[in-house]
Amino acid sequence: MKTGLDYFFYADSVAIVGATDNPGKAGNQIVKNLVEGGYQGQIYPVHPTNKEICGLTCYPDLLSIAGSIELIVIVISDFGVPEVMRQAAKRGDIKGAVIIAAGFSETKIPERIALEEEVLALAREAGIRVFGPNCVGVINTKNNVDTTFVSHINKEFREFSFISQSGATGASIIKFASDQPVPFGFNKWAHVGNMSDVDILEILAYYEKDPDTKAIGMYMEGVENATEFLQVAKRVTKNKPLLILKVGRSEMGSQAAASHTGSLAGADRIYEGAFKQVGINRVSTIDELLDAAKAFSMQPIPKGKKICVLTEAGGPGIICMDELGLSENVEMAELSEGCVKKLQEILPPMAIVNRPQGYIDMSAAALEKAHAEALELVLAEEGVDGVILISVPPTFLDSTKLAKEVVKVTAKHNKPVLTCLMAGDWVKDARVLLETKAMPTFDLPQRAARAMINLVKRNDFLQKLEKEGK
């Protein structure tokens, strides 16, 4: 039995009002995404004169469609929306509407605020739930429901779902995610727009219950009902990691956020404290969010905070240590004497083992086998909760062979391993191989470090919960 947001994320049929055969227009891209993405439900393009769009029969209006419709996407301009909603109401079978059109309450113009209220009243009356207006709606990578006009590319399904308060940030993060060695597909993705009906909290609660969602990410400018938000977040973080890119870290950023969505950006230090209190991982940039998304969706949460840095190159290893050292959450791994001795035996003589503690510079002479053996040794150590493996594969090292070895070793241990292969396209195949096996890869050491810090923070919070429960 479908309820609430299921009608969006699991819509059996979608009508696109404002579809067009004119390529490059949003109303064309949406139809194209559904068709090319392989959406299996019924697709009904609606346009007053077009006969066919992307090979599909086009209808002049909603009332001329004989089949049943669950979801409509409204991509016509502002003042035409009430009429569409009236038709939708008249049909009686429509359960959800994504209103892409802008020019409503976000303009702060009384006439346009009233327009939004009118549309919403019509929808409420007919039992139709609304995303937006001024939004791009939802994506479900599992069944290829996609109401956005972000051009589609095939992606690997990852158990990470995303909510955005900004369409452009949300869309660009889809693009960045697609640009990963193995294109990263958000399980579910939603952009809320004006939140006249469906809001962040409802989506958050939906993701909380979604069995396909292992962790949740969000881009946030501000919330209206902070108290309620904290209550929901507190419940969510008991079960799932919640990563939020909350902007407004500086006074200037805050002002920009306030004028963008009109939401109260609020005193940043209060957000900072409140997020910590309810176990939200606050991230600072899109990169950090995406890197953490990869780590959380593919790797286990470490059981402690002791991290080992295993590097084939000095400089990158130090950059990684710098980043880890700036975090108060991470400690360096403790290696047993036996482990240190064995590492010295298997690694080239110029290797620097456990100096400083938990840091191993294997040296550039370390080949595939040495990487794998060293990784195996440290992963087996009790004093190691997670490993960052860094390599700048030289010409004489076969990076795909290295990747295969790493996959083999890592599979035996339930500890997070984040791999940083620094050689651009030269190591693309190796990174694809790793990510196909759910081993996240990073192009820069500080990015791997930030992702690890986020994993450690999550464990810190889980331990705090456990302590409070006792």
Binding site: A226, A267, G273, A274, Q277
Partner: protein, 227 residues
């Protein structure tokens, strides 16, 4: 029901006077230093004797917020004579500053020993509701803005975390051979202020500045409660 002192202040359309603020905090189990209101110089001498020398005298008037700025505070008074003179000076200064100021008396408190100064405050945020702030006093707050917030209610673990996450926590841990300061006493104040803020929704702001923290215990020597 709001505390009677809050009700009274509301009726008179003002915030709590310092001695009322102290009484309210005491009623909520906060470790405030004793404070007695004196209505004459003789009375001040009597109260000073009760509290024990040395003492501090502070003007109490709804019109005078920044007491030190108008010469309304005299510290480290060691004898009846000093208290007598100080009392008169404070009243004179207050009246010079504002001849219409309604003077409720002079508050006599013990002179606290020097300790590490911290600030604990509460503000009611329009979105999050009551939030408690913690920071080390002096330049740490003014220049470095090294403060941290949590939303009430605040658990002891959260309170500890907020103290530990300030950069100036290093100072509380003890620097240059000093022993560590009583962090648990601060945890106690933070959690109690958070409870007070929830119980008394009419309080807009609480400002405990400074709170002096020692190796063992604290001295809560100044309190402002705004309605």
């Amino acid at each position: 029901m709001a505390h009677p002192l809050i009700q009274k202040a509301q009726q008179e359309r003002r915030s709590l006077l310092e001695h009322e603020a102290i009484e309210l905090l005491k009623a909520h189990d906060l470790p405030v230093s004793p404070a007695l209101l004196a209505s004459s110089s003789d009375d001040a001498v009597k109260k000073a004797k009760e509290i024990g020398y040395p003492v501090v005298l502070k003007i109490v008037s709804p019109q005078i917020i920044h007491k030190s700025d108008v010469g309304g505070v005299k510290v480290n008074l060691k004898s009846a004579e000093e208290v007598d003179v100080a009392y008169r000076e404070i009243i004179d200064n207050a009246l010079v500053h504002d001849s219409d100021a309604e003077i409720k008396g002079v508050l006599v408190t013990p002179m606290a020993q020097a300790g590490t100064e911290v600030i604990i405050g509460m503000i009611r945020d329009p979105q999050f509701g009551p939030c408690v702030m913690f920071g080390l006093g002096g330049i740490f707050v003014e220049v470095f803005k090294d403060v941290t917030f949590r939303v009430a209610p605040i658990s002891p673990d959260d309170a500890r975390e907020m103290i530990e996450e300030t950069k100036s926590y290093t100072v509380l841990k003890g620097v240059r051979g000093e022993k560590p300061k009583d962090v648990e006493a601060l945890v106690n104040i933070i959690t109690k202020v958070s409870q007070l803020a929830i119980q008394e929704p009419d309080i807009k702001e609480i400002d405990l500045n400074p709170v002096l923290v020692y190796e063992k215990g604290v001295a809560l020597v100044d309190a402002r409660v705004l309605l």
